[in-house]
Symmetry: C2
Subunit: 361 residues, 2 copies
Amino acid sequence: MGDSGGARDGRTRKAARLIDVARLADVSRATAARALGGYGVVTQETREKVAEAAKALDYRVNDLARSMRSGKTLTIGVVVADISNSFTLNSIRGIIDASGSAGYQSLVLNTDGDVRREREAVRVLREKRVDGLLIVPASRLDVGHLAGGRGHGAPVVLFDRFIDDLPLDSVVTADFEASRAAVNLFVEHGHRRIGLLLGTAAHHGHQDSEPHDTVSAVRERARGALAGFADAGLAVNPSWVRYAGSVAPTALAAARHLLSQSPRPTAILAGNEEMLLGALAAAEEIGLAIGRDLSLIGFDDAPWLAVFRPPLSVIQRPTYELGRRAVSLLLSKVGGNRRSESIVLPATLINRASVASISDH
Amino acid sequence: MGDSGGARDGRTRKAARLIDVARLADVSRATAARALGGYGVVTQETREKVAEAAKALDYRVNDLARSMRSGKTLTIGVVVADISNSFTLNSIRGIIDASGSAGYQSLVLNTDGDVRREREAVRVLREKRVDGLLIVPASRLDVGHLAGGRGHGAPVVLFDRFIDDLPLDSVVTADFEASRAAVNLFVEHGHRRIGLLLGTAAHHGHQDSEPHDTVSAVRERARGALAGFADAGLAVNPSWVRYAGSVAPTALAAARHLLSQSPRPTAILAGNEEMLLGALAAAEEIGLAIGRDLSLIGFDDAPWLAVFRPPLSVIQRPTYELGRRAVSLLLSKVGGNRRSESIVLPATLINRASVASISDH
DNA sequence: TTGGCAAAAGAGATCGATCTCATTGGGTGT
DNA sequence: ACACCCAATGAGATCGATCTCTTTTGCCAA
């Protein structure tokens, strides 16, 4: 009320600082900090006095100042190539939950698979002095920004994808084995013309050969499928293999291309959700019934698969758990653990009803 | 190499600070700052000398210190109730793009519709001194944390939901009108038994009356539907109205409940993606064909709808644009604009093939 | 009464970048 | 030759919380 116009009248002027609380409680900053921070020795009476003042001024610590002093931000940066697919989304849930219960905030940035944005994101996060970085790298080759420069010690853990020549810790799925198992399943059902629809960075078009810069997850899936072909003594037919940017129109175009071959594949392994959607759309266009005229296996389970008919067979990855493991590994490194580690979790092939048996071969 | 063990040998010890750059370039901190920051007056020669030193030491500014000094973090906080649905996801895209091109980072936190987590998220973001907050509030009643306390001036813009008694700016969809239009469409096709499946906070069960704490978006949709009933002179049948927590099992249970009424509704308006999935699953269980035995309209378009058969009619909200507008409004307030504003964007009813005509009534 | 000692509280430095306000220097005009 | 001015740079303060290192206070025993 009768505040005589000091700099901070506690009304709406400025946020209260520790020193304002100290003044109101008539103690020093050090004492106020002790009382609020619950360390050192403070009288019960003083503690209450300070608490009261803090409440009266609606005091909130300035985390910037605190981080500055402590050198820790209790924040990890998460850089993902694509937030919108089910895999990433669930993983992020795991990441947020795990980091949250360890007292860390997560700063999630999306790059849409663009290395430039990724570089920028990493720079910003390092400038914000995050304590650690979890990265789904967009590129296999352009990786200079991943390993922190001199002294930029914030540890890095790669998520879902590893980089061959970079000794960075990673948490990934056993994509090779999953892909191979899918092909094996097709083969067991009599398929010998098996198509591969592999999703790459969104800005790519579609083509039959592996793009120069393909991330490990996609490579592993391609290699796994090839291993599956080899298991069955099948030769690879390049016109049944398609790499496509992970965006609806491109996926559709690539799927159309696959299905317009003659002979056309009788089965398709779709490398991600977009590819699966593209394959479904293209199949429908030319009147192929899934699970009868065309067999299909996709990567990653999604909510809508529960209502899609026929029920689609998919490779289910332990998304949430991957996220948790990645955080746990990252935080152990934040804590000083120097041991390098690469975690690989297995995927599960869930065969529902989109793989048909072929009698004649 | 022959570094004589100073505190910072530039190898892997500590991140270089401005003062390290200044020392190496043999200038003062002030000059180094000027050279790097591109302000004030500096000789071309000095500028290069400093740039060289910065590069040699791999210098990165410490954003904490900078923000501390400037009082700005160039960061906005985004608190959403549920990242995983298509609506939020697309909106976040719009938010990130818009804020990014205005030079702001976005800090996205997810609350899963839990007010406690929301309060915590807002507290953390305020402590991190974000310049503004974009919030999808989880509750209509527990809102004390939304209006920043005294002096915590970071402006707040509500997203997708408004709070009746709180004079906060908001950016929302015309849910009332959209919902009414959907009901009108049902009515035009001869439907007189119209079910409502409204999604609420994830932790709720399902019930026929409006939960005490229902966010504006859901309320508006309910009211809009009721208005649609009134337009047609239809009475409300409470057993055709179901409020359900937005999580798969609950949505399914609620949908089952709706469809087990007798007489059962011939049309259902599903309040969000989960409700739509629940309705589809429940309809399939009892062998109702969508677009023939049961008509259906959902809220929000999603990628999988492109391949679902029959094509489902949905209310499409301008998700991306909503995000952009919200950021633009928020940043104008960050910039000092005091004018209060509420933006309402219209939704579009896309009628595909899930609304059947009923001949007899 | 006074020494001694522990409990409680205060003073001041620190984190790193930025910015205001000097200060230095070289040059020019008369 | 001297004053003056401007370009270029440096010194030091500032942002706010924390923490170490004093300093003060209070209490008890001798």
